[in-house]
Symmetry: C2
Subunit: 213 residues, 2 copies
């Protein structure tokens, strides 16, 4: 497919493979077993602000997916599009209420919990970085995060909504910001996060060759 | 419907009617001509952190929609759910690529342009408030915003994607943060924002009785 330009898929991600949103789009394509070209942009060198990428992304953000001539940014829009347009395992729950809940989780993880996202950036996960103790704000955000996962994840289950969905990958990423920094996280949630990390599509992201910082 | 608890719709919004996300969910329900009970929460008095609302919202945020026993937060998840579950005019484009683009717009407006969102909060729109001149960061964000709208909005058209979609209401809200503060906004985008504001569903939100600040 990659040689057939009309339908070719290209995914733009950050060259450190640290964007959790780029990871979500990458996992979606892997789950569907779609061949795609992976293109890295050096965000530190502001390659995302150059004209060629601005025209594709509109918003100068990764990830951006190209499907033939169609370019699409924002990871949750990408995962919805991939699920709608391509065959393969579902990325979202079939049930309308569970699908709505998965969308709630995705939107929430992208617009809240800012203290965790800043104080435990994903270099914790992808580079093993260590940072100063969490602020009061981050500790409060962590409590909110634990409450949400404990409410949504049925006891004894591996996934939030029965079958795996892309919201599981996104949720596990947020938990790993804390788990891999050895913060206090309830054991059931640690187990959930570790289980999600075993997934082949996630492992493929983890195993990308990352530049030395 | 409001008296039939199994299917009753209740929408929790902020008591100042200033949340752009509460507005988006409200407009979705109005467009579908669904009867619903509107419940206001005083966020300044932290009513959203009380146990009863935390159990419903999970994340202590407005808007939260109750549909019978099912409670759902995050405005874009709510507008998707309302569109999927109820009859009536479509809230999203039918075409997969245009629908993807509408989702990109919604996700982007909720996760970027922070300088505009902070320096021109929606009291500009709903209370006529005036603030200090825009920072360099906000001016740069405004240029990004104008580029995106000018790229997506076809010349001579009233809506981003042919027929109206909920992304038009969300985009117009972002533009009105600048338009109603008399910032320099390209004339075509001012016209677009004003046109969107005439919509009956939007007017119903504007006409809510707001408390004195
Ligand atoms: Ca994104
Ligand atoms: Ca399993
Ligand atoms: Ca929201
Ligand atoms: Ca019209």
């Amino acid at each position: 497919m990659a040689s057939h330009s009309e339908d070719a898929l290209r995914l733009y991600v950050d060259s450190q493979f640290c964007s959790p949103y780029a990871m979500s789009a990458f996992v979606a394509l892997q789950e569907k077993k779609l061949p795609f070209e992976l293109i890295t942009l050096d965000l530190a060198a502001k390659k995302n602000h150059e004209k060629d990428f601005t025209e594709k992304s509109l918003t100068q953000r990764v990830p951006t997916l190209l499907h033939g001539d169609f370019s699409l940014s924002e990871s949750s829009a990408i995962t919805e599009y991939v699920d709608e347009v391509f065959e393969g395992p579902a990325l979202y729950p079939k049930d309308a209420k569970q699908r709505a809940r998965a969308r709630q989780v995705q939107a929430w993880l992208r617009s809240d919990l800012m203290a965790i996202r800043v104080e435990r950036n994903t270099q914790v996960i992808f580079y093993g970085k260590k940072f100063a103790p969490l602020s009061e704000a981050a500790l409060a955000a962590a409590q909110n995060l634990f409450f949400v996962v404990e409410t949504l994840l049925p006891v004894g289950q591996e996934n939030l909504f029965g079958e795996w969905s892309i919201a599981d990958t996104d949720m596990a990423l947020m938990l790993h910001r804390l788990v891999q920094h050895h913060e206090a996280v309830p054991a059931r949630l640690v187990e959930y996060a570790h289980h999600q990390w075993q997934r082949a599509s996630v492992q493929q992201w983890l195993q990308q060759g990352r530049p030395v910082l």
